[in-house]
């Protein structure tokens, strides 16, 4: 199957990645050759095979809904690109 740069551009939009035109072209070529290699999987009949879920069996891990970490507001906010009081400051999300 031929991968088009339109498909790659749509995937970049889904992945929230702004690509320069030369990056888009380069990725189209690279992804095409990687996907071609992946096509190897078609050689195997998997119609009767269950998809993998986990390597080591474990049932769901439940715990009480309790706060166990220390409040560390200053350390957490210290990493934020922008803050106001004890909040993260983010771009407007509703027009």
């Amino acid at each position: 199957m031929k991968l088009t740069s339109e498909v790659v551009a749509r995937v970049a939009q889904l992945a929230r990645l702004r690509l320069l035109p030369e990056e888009l072209n380069q990725l189209t070529i690279e992804l095409q050759s990687i996907l071609q290699y992946m096509d190897k999987l078609r050689e195997i009949d998997t119609s009767e095979i269950e998809p993998f879920t986990q390597a080591v069996y474990s049932s769901n891990a439940f715990r009480d809904d309790l706060v166990t970490n220390d409040p560390n507001t200053d350390a957490i906010l210290a990493n934020a690109p922008a803050t106001a009081k004890t909040f993260f400051k983010v771009p407007k999300i509703i027009e």
């Binding site: 498909v7 790659v8 995937v11 970049a12 889904l14 992945a15 929230r16 990645l17 702004r18 690509l19 990056e23 990725l27 690279e30 992804l31 050759s33 990687i34 996907l35 290699y37 992946m38 190897k40 999987l41 078609r42 050689e43 195997i44 998997t46 095979i49 269950e50 998809p51 993998f52 986990q54 390597a55 080591v56 474990s58 769901n60 891990a61 715990r63 970490n69 560390n72 350390a75 957490i76 210290a78 990493n79 934020a80 690109p81 922008a82 993260f88 983010v90 771009p91 407007k92 999300i93």
Partner: protein
């Protein structure tokens, strides 16, 4: 004997006998770093001051009490994708350039409470995506055995730091071979534990169904000691398994008589560098001399593992890396609106390989391609797992090369992603199946570059692979060989 050359067990012994202090040991290690890291560049962040303080504290504890852990006072390096409270944790990415972790990962908390001295944070391929440490956003690390060669990846900084004696031991992470392949390239020991054996809490996620933290050490005994210190159930990681941690060092008996070792023919194909083939074949003969029973086994789906891995790992990565949106931490670009801020933040913050994998993973998960790629890969993953189940009915452990070649040249594969991916061909099936595996040095090629042998075990059977690796190590001198570092 230089103090920095010591292993954990040798140094711990000297600390106990008060022949040397942790402060002396730590200062010797930092002296070594000062002499060698200008060229090798194992470390992204060094914490000399804090380390000396930790060493002094360890010395006080050693005066007061009999040490409860062999790690007390031992300088250990950490891969820079392990969260360390109050310390910069970058994952070798621009997007986390200035990130100071507000908490410790469980593995780091464990080595800290054992009294280890943290030397610093080591270089890696950005977000652990790569096989050469060249994908670091900051600088590549060089192989101490040959400065024009890569140290392997992604835990290239940890491997190089252990090989160059810039720490006594290190922690790495392994999603597709990222501990074992650099261990092989740098002539050290590295172990990828069973999935669920070691907590992933506070380990920056790449592919969550395969990521594991493990030891990178100068010999097998150290590997057992460090593994014991980091293993165990953690309620903060819902995939960590609640089963007892055995005393791994007790499995180092040197006796492997009657043990059945499987050799899968699929791993000894024409793609193998002949010197690697020869060294691993010799090593298998050595194991046979020690009384092991060698049997041919088959892992028929081995040839599909690469395709399966690069679909599943990238799909998981595309999902895990969605969190880097520039809102709560990390780099934020100046966009005109929210959508553009996201797009530019990620475009500026991620390097080319990370973008490539996010794109591949997003594609494999997107509408119209999900069944064809992601679901198909998960079905073939079931077959890869069954291969191991079947093989382990006939043997107790499996022996293979760790990598098809020795350390390749810097720049040799960086332009060809598929070629780079293929350098993981011997290690990725192990992560798909969640089984444990260790790499031990088993020779040098004609250019003097280290070769690694991989021993693969059943789920939670780390004791057997450590036993095999130790028995082999007892018979050989490969683990004692050191890079000359003459041009460093």
């Amino acid at each position: 004997m230089n103090l920095f050359s010591l292993t954990i067990h040798e140094a711990s012994d000297k600390l106990r006998k008060r022949e040397v202090s942790s402060q002396e040991l730590t200062e010797a290690v930092f002296q070594r770093v000062a002499e060698t890291d200008g060229l090798i560049r194992s470390y992204i962040t060094l914490c000399r001051e804090a380390a000396i303080a930790q060493a002094k504290e360890a010395d006080e504890r050693l005066k007061r009490e009999a040490p409860s852990s062999p790690l007390l006072g031992i300088p250990v390096a950490l891969k820079d994708n392990l969260l360390t409270q109050g310390l910069r944790t970058t994952c070798a990415s621009r997007i986390l350039d200035n990130f100071i972790s507000p908490y410790d990962s469980t593995v780091v908390a464990k080595v800290r409470s054992a009294g280890a001295v943290i030397t610093g944070k080591t270089n890696l391929d950005e977000f652990a995506m790569g096989s050469s440490a060249e994908n670091s956003a900051f600088f590549p690390t060089r192989n101490p055995w040959h400065l024009e060669r890569v140290p392997g990846g992604s835990s290239g900084g940890s491997a190089a730091s252990v090989a160059a004696d810039q720490c006594i031991a290190a922690l790495g992470t392994d999603t597709g071979g990222s501990i074992r392949q650099p261990a092989a390239f740098c002539g050290i020991v590295g172990l990828k534990p069973t999935y669920g054996r070691v907590s992933r809490y506070g380990v920056i996620a790449f592919a969550s169904s395969m990521d594991q933290v493990g030891p990178m050490t100068k010999d097998v005994r150290d590997c057992a000691l460090l593994l014991e210190a980091i293993s165990g159930h953690d309620p903060a990681d819902s995939t960590s398994v609640n089963c007892p941690v055995p005393s791994y060092s007790k499995s180092l008996t040197g006796d492997i008589a009657g043990l059945r070792l499987g050799v899968p023919k699929e791993y000894f194909t024409s793609g193998l560098q002949w010197t690697v083939d020869e060294a691993v074949t010799d090593a298998i003969r050595q194991l046979e001399k020690c009384g092991a029973i060698i049997e041919e086994v088959s892992l028929p789906h081995a040839e599909y593992a690469m395709a399966v891995y690069y679909i599943i790992a990238t799909a998981e990565a595309s999902s895990n890396l969605a969190r880097y949106d520039g809102m709560r931490y990390g780099h934020r670009a100046a966009g005109r609106d929210l959508a553009e801020t996201y797009m530019l933040t990620r475009a500026e913050g991620f390097g080319p390989e990370v973008k490539r994998r996010i794109m591949l993973g997003t594609y494999a998960l997107s509408a119209g391609y999900y069944d064809e790629y992601y679901l198909k890969a998960q079905k073939v993953r079931t077959l890869v797992c069954r291969d191991f189940d079947t093989a382990f009915k006939h043997c107790d452990a499996i022996v293979t090369p760790t990598s098809p070649s020795t350390a390749f040249k810097m720049g040799e594969k960086i332009q060809n992603p598929l070629q780079m991916y293929l350098s993981d061909i011997c290690t990725i099936s192990i992560n798909l199946a969640g089984v444990p595996a260790i790499s031990v040095p088993c020779g040098l090629d004609r250019e003097g570059l280290p070769i690694g042998m991989q021993v693969i075990g059943k789920h939670f059977d780390e004791p057997t692979i450590l036993r095999v690796a130790y028995a082999y190590e007892q018979q050989t001198e490969w683990h004692r060989k050191k890079p000359a570092l003459s041009h460093a």
